[in-house]
Amino acid sequence: MRSGTVRGTGIIWWGKARRLWALVPALAAFTALVTLSHAGTSVPLLSFPAAGTVPVPLLLFTPVPVVATLVWCLDNRLPEAEASAVRSTAVADTALAVAVCAVASGVGAAVALLSGSTAAVATGRDTAFLAGIVLCLRPPAGQAAVLAAPAWLFVVVFFGLPSAGPPPVWTVVGHSAAAPIPLTATLLAFVAGLSVLARSSRTSV
């Protein structure tokens, strides 16, 4: 066995540990399928500002499983070995978070081109925003941080969606992809999340 061929490089072992090969293609396929099949679908949900129900695009919730899978991948680790490592996995972990949001953006843009849905374009922005929040909360909250993504969306639905017109700026999600303030907030949240991730990759859970 000693003279056997080296199977994989270090970064491939990292990828296998994070279970990327199984999950990232499945995630891309899932995002494409959901955005394509539900690009125009809305469900009535209770909104306090509207004093009743408002139609909420299903696409608003597409980022939740994407972000949950990202966090699950990041949690597949050897905590003690990675915390006391000479080689840091921080760069690879950060690149993974960027790649997942890039894939979600790419899939959203492709579906928008195919279906003409403007809401699909915002999927990438919403994914990056929610991923940023969740990554910021991971060190203090652990795996429970992933709940921040659906929690944010339900707060937006219950308290942010009016019966007519655009939602308030603080919601970030639910705006068009090109809206400047939500885009800036997304960039800030995502960069903050990445910097927290880079630092916490060295920390034992």
Partner: protein, 244 residues
């Protein structure tokens, strides 16, 4: 060259300190770390391996701080709970551990085979770690600690779940490792199993060092009328305050 903790205080979030103003110097050879549950054994090992950082105080090896690469190369930890990575075989997981410790991928891959051979897991090298039994997984954890040829080995209850034959193999391995000049600090609840073979014994109680010294000095704490086969347990019970 020694691993040293100086005036270390450590507490988990919203908990009282597990170790307070704790100082310790790891002696040569095999040291067995004893203490009741919650005494701070695992915390001591995690601090000594630079897995966690003390709130105050320093951890050094040969004068180099715990955050340095030289320290991290020199010290290896087998944690109390060995994680089975679903996506990795035993050899890949051990090689990944070596790669994390700075080995080249080729060295890590080759040394992983050798480390698995030393713990008697060669035939399971290609088995996914999630398919290993509890005892096999602990042996894979030992292999991961051995893979990069550390100068200090910190083993957190390595013999838990091992059958008598595996324990004998493990004792032989410990002997080889210490004869090669590696310092070993090993925590266990199995007092009589390893204390007789250790060069030194350290006993913790509620985060404090109640004994550290030679094995002979440890046995001297047993009551004089203790049967020879019961000396380790009797000495431990007296030191750890479990004798009455």
């Amino acid at each position: 060259m020694t691993l040293e903790l100086s005036a270390c205080t450590f507490a988990y979030r919203r908990q009282p300190p597990v170790l307070r103003d704790f100082s310790y110097q790891l002696p040569n050879g095999l040291t067995v770390l004893l203490g009741p549950n919650g005494a701070g054994k695992s915390t001591l090992l995690r601090l000594a391996a630079s897995v966690t950082r003390p709130r105050s105080g320093t951890v050094t090896y040969d004068g180099t701080p715990a955050a340095s690469q030289a320290f991290r190369r020199a010290v290896a930890l087998m944690p109390q709970t060995v994680t089975a990575m679903r996506g990795l075989t035993a050899r890949e997981q051990v090689a990944y551990s070596g790669w994390l410790k700075g080995m080249s991928r080729r060295d890590a891959w080759e040394q992983a085979a050798e480390a698995l051979d030393r713990v008697g897991l060669t035939e399971h090298a290609g088995t996914r770690t999630t398919k290993l039994s509890g005892g096999q997984l602990r042996r894979a954890g030992v292999a991961a600690a051995l893979v990069h040829r550390a100068e200090v080995l910190l083993l957190d209850e390595p013999t838990a779940g091992m059958d008598p034959h595996q324990r004998r193999v493990f004792r032989d391995l410990l002997q080889q490792v210490t004869e090669a000049g590696v310092r070993v600090l090993l925590s266990t609840h199995d007092v009589s199993d390893l204390a007789e073979e250790a060069d030194h014994v350290t006993v913790l109680r509620r985060g404090s060092l109640v004994y550290t010294g030679t094995t002979g000095g440890f046995f001297a704490h047993a009551p004089e009328d203790t049967a020879p086969g019961r000396r380790a347990e009797a000495a431990y019970s007296r030191l750890a305050g479990e004798d009455g």
